[in-house]
Symmetry: C2
Subunit: 598 residues, 2 copies
């Protein structure tokens, strides 16, 4: 297994040199988040991730979770690591001080999530899932519910889950059947089966707070009849102590391709006592209020697996000796050259590097919008950040997980046959990353969200929230010759983006299928341009630093080299996508369903 | 696990309607291979694959192979299935009648390999690996060696392996260290460690014949000092009976991402008795004589996983109800529409279908060249087939395994979260397929073989063996309006292919790194054009049949729809590849090895 080293230099580059996080925190009024404080937190988080979590990553994969009569045992060391995590105060980092949180900005929490998730994605999901529960209760819970559940979640004493999926419905939650019958005491009896419940049952915390989607007896059909309920694993007494076991149990664990260290549970609710949260029948609306944050949390997974793949394959490529360089021996004293001399190995390494570093910039930028949505000084600021975040979220989620999986695969590929062997850890990285394109809305669903719900439904306004930013950037850099290599293609694509959107919008007015026929290609196309913008900004910062003079010349030159690579080798993927996304729905819809095979 | 159904209708379409296999066999003088006989063999092979092998596919994955003190136990049922395979006479199908074979054409064997491999790739590797050993002995063995070993391999009583890789060398065989010391009796003592030996040890046959690459004491360094040895697991007495155990043992099994049902062995040779085969120090040359066949055998794996992914996801897409069509309910009587109504699900299904069926045409066509190389009436025919096969082999191997992996992933993706769950079998299909881009020469190595060794080293002549065929096809179809939609883009790309090759060749004269910098993109670009040619031919056949009148209209219309999809949605990938392959080596080579990370 490759050692994980938190990429602190690049994290600081993005936070401090690209995104001016110091000023951003000042604007938010987040006085606790002084530069020194932020830096210290990141260093501590890095240490914890490298030293405590990374060594458990392969243990989690090989042992997996064990189910025994409803009880779930997590892999060796997971529980202890969680205890350390709680003692370190990590769960409370970005939460309300009135409820025991530290009140630091959400964006700082996402930096931590990157390091924790890269070190051990399966482990990171236990505290990660709590966030959904916390956000739900924070936004829609009563004061009592906050005191009873949220404080315990913030402290990390308890963890949380989101119970959405049922065997017959994942994407289409309108079909869900779990029932909530009102009891005389104002509580509800929740019954039904939920599947794919990550961290649904485990031995790491003393209680688990399930947020459950269910239907009231008189609920309208479809998505407009879904309500949200708090269903604790153990009922909570009035004094906050744990009472009897509630009617919810883990029926079994799923056997799955990866993230073996995380318990993916079938959860059976059998007249479990539940508490309505938010207004009846408005459950889905309530959940949408923090969907962006949740999806950004999954977008990070793309970045994590790209980073891990990159680190592992870079180490290997520097050490593995195989063949001579095409231009003659580069390490004549050795029996062969290290494979990093070979252009195609470099292509694979640079692809991973460009996606990891570009993805980091995108996610940290989006995370700043989360901060602004929460703490903006004006409504206008808030609305603008919200619009930008709404637009970027499906791109970050789907694009980064797709290229994260590609990167994980390239990391494996650099190892040749050894990449297929478990001990190296590269194949685990591929398997663990594969889920990211499925859960929290598949790539196809994100693409419909982007093109259908956001861009087209807003008549293109949603797109403009971002293209305006790109346009401004290009305008400001006009005349800067060193930047021309980035600004010219970026500017051109930024215009083409609008034109293609218009074109698809026009076709979609004739035939709604055109939206679905274009959507995934449109999303990927958008992703490449978004990343090009961040790579252009990275290059600009690097050029400025080099012009000013710096002791870190190699670092900034590497930024430029990677930006050049991105523009030369990855951004041209937009060419094909522009063609295919406008090729029309006919080539997909012509074939009758019964004629796909004979 | 999805049921495997051998795609007999499409197999017959390619064999009989596209490639006129009947005439091909007549030309070869393969009188045994009458159309009825061929069809009966294929039907029997389909039955065996569907009924005996497919049910063992998941068993193989979950049980894996067990190592115990050097002995390896294969998963339940594997041994019995192999026994049936031997009793059915399958191993001897395409082998020399004088040594007990049935003398049927190699291309027919490859059709069988497709079905067997789709049903259970791990199992198929046991008889599959024997082929390497058989080909080696057939081409380079003495009569004695043939009588002793080859007859037993042909009957299937024994299996074979190819022992190439060592811990420090896979691609770069020049580094290998295994030694062969001559004994007084003319045999050799072979000592060394080999890894990644597929089917290296198992309980399915009574003896295993290892073909081992090793160095004689006085051998020159590098690839020119490698010799080939036969090293049997059990020594063979003069009367052909089994003698004592030889000094070769399986030290351990690798833990790996997939193909768990196949034993991937570390093999320790400790003064094992070996027999030189072929001339000393010419081992690699000897192996190259059948490299094309071996690589074609792996190319099939791409086709297999695309087919399996397609079949599984098609069934699911027709049954799974989720969301309504964008143009209104298509199954109003159900709670939701089957997901095959959604354009993006169709995009994923059609991608798999286009790669599977196009890949089948490519492989069967290449297999005909194998037949011709073996049995041509004239040297000219043989040389032409050999040139064509040499050109197509790295494309078939690397391109089809890359798009096979993509297809397997799309098959999984169609299942949403369920795709990640083992019981559905789609994630096994992904894991099993991942090895195909690594062994038998990685994608990167195939790409260097294609662009460097073949196309550029022949001054483009190798490319012309194929572009001439495409050119002829396009010329002949000129004026056929119904074909214009295929012929025009194909013709244009066929020309561009030559131009880009010239361009890269010119840059490579300045800088050899340009070859490695362009190679993988060049190979993939080539693959898309090769498949476009076969899709154009498929469309032509379909149009002819429809014009003539047919009772299978839906089948031929589906061919046209899939061809249209291929040209509209997959072939445009050449646009990006044309740009990136000519973007130059600088964007890869500029960064110093030590500056990839900080």
């Amino acid at each position: 297994m490759p050692d994980y080293k938190a990429p602190l230099r690049d994290i600081r580059f993005v936070l401090n040199e690209m995104l001016d996080t110091e000023q951003h925190y000042v604007n938010l009024g987040a006085d606790e988040a002084s530069p020194d404080m932020v830096d210290a937190i990141i260093e501590e988080g890095a240490k914890f991730s490298e030293q405590v979590l990374a060594p458990l990553n392969r243990v989690g994969d090989t042992q997996g979770c064990q189910w025994n009569d409803g009880e779930v045992t997590t892999p060796d060391g997971f529980k202890e690591a969680y205890q350390q995590f709680v003692e370190g105060g990590w769960p409370s980092l970005a939460h309300n001080t009135e409820l025991g949180g530290q009140g630091l900005p959400e964006s700082l929490g996402l930096v931590l999530n990157e390091m924790v998730g890269s070190a051990n994605w399966s482990w990171s999901m236990y505290p990660g899932l709590s966030h959904g529960a916390m956000n739900t209760i924070e936004a829609h819970g009563t004061d009592d519910q906050k005191q009873t559940y949220l404080t315990q979640l913030i402290s990390g004493n308890w963890t949380g889950t989101m119970c959405l999926t049922e065997p017959h419905c994942g994407t289409d939650l309108g079909l869900l059947r779990t029932k909530a019958e009102p009891n005389d005491d104002g509580t509800y009896s929740v019954s039904g089966t939920k599947i794919f419940i990550s961290a649904g049952e485990h031995d790491m915390a003393e209680n688990i707070v399930h947020i459950v989607l269910a239907r009231l007896p008189d609920a309208p059909e479809g998505t407009k009849g879904i309500s949200l309920f708090i269903v604790p694993k153990f009922n909570v007494n009035d004094d906050g102590s744990l009472g009897d076991r509630n009617g919810v149990a883990c029926g079994s664990l799923e056997h799955k391709m990866g993230i073996h260290g995380n318990s993916t549970c079938v959860m059976n609710f059998d007249s479990a006592k539940g508490y309505l949260i938010g207004p009846p029948n408005k459950g889905l609306n309530c959940m949408f209020t923090f969907m962006n944050t949740a999806r950004l949390g999954t977008a990070i997974q793309g970045l994590c697996h790209a980073e891990v793949g990159f680190q592992g394959s870079l180490d290997y490529a520097r050490e593995r000796l195989q063949m001579r360089s095409l231009t003659g021996p580069k390490a004549p004293e050795k029996s062969a050259d290290p494979i990093i001399v070979h252009p195609d190995v470099r292509r694979m390494l640079l692809t991973q590097k460009a996606f990891a570093e570009g993805g980091r910039a995108l996610i940290y930028f989006a995370a700043q919008q989360v901060d602004i949505v929460k703490h903006a000084n004006t409504d206008e600021e808030r609305q603008q950040a919200d619009a930008l975040l709404s637009f970027l979220t499906p791109i970050a989620k789907a694009f980064l997980t797709e290229v994260g999986f590609e990167s994980a695969n390239l990391g494996l590929q650099c190892f040749g046959g050894h990449g297929f062997i478990s001990e190296w850890g590269m194949e685990q990285n591929v398997r663990d990353s594969r889920i990211s394109m499925l859960y929290e809305g598949t790539t196809g669903i994100q693409a419909l969200d982007l093109l259908g719900r956001k861009v087209l439904m807003s008549q293109g306004e949603s797109l403009k929230t971002f293209t305006k930013i790109v346009h401004k950037f290009c305008q400001a850099a006009e005349g800067d010759e060193a930047m021309a290599a980035y600004v010219e293609p970026l500017n051109k694509l930024n215009k083409e983006w609008g034109e293609l959107t218009m074109k698809i919008g026009m076709s979609a007015m004739q035939n709604r299928e055109e939206v679905g026929a274009a959507s995934v290609d449109y999303l990927m196309y958008s992703g490449y341009i978004v990343l090009a913008y961040f790579w252009a900004r990275s290059a600009q910062v690097a050029q400025q630093k080099l012009a000013e003079g710096t002791s870190e010349e190699a670092f900034y030159q590497a930024k430029l080299a990677t930006a050049n690579f991105y523009f030369a080798r990855l951004l041209p993927r937009t060419q094909t996508l522009a063609t295919t996304m406008t090729s029309g729905a006919d080539n997909l819809m012509a074939l009758a369903a019964e004629d796909f095979a004979f």
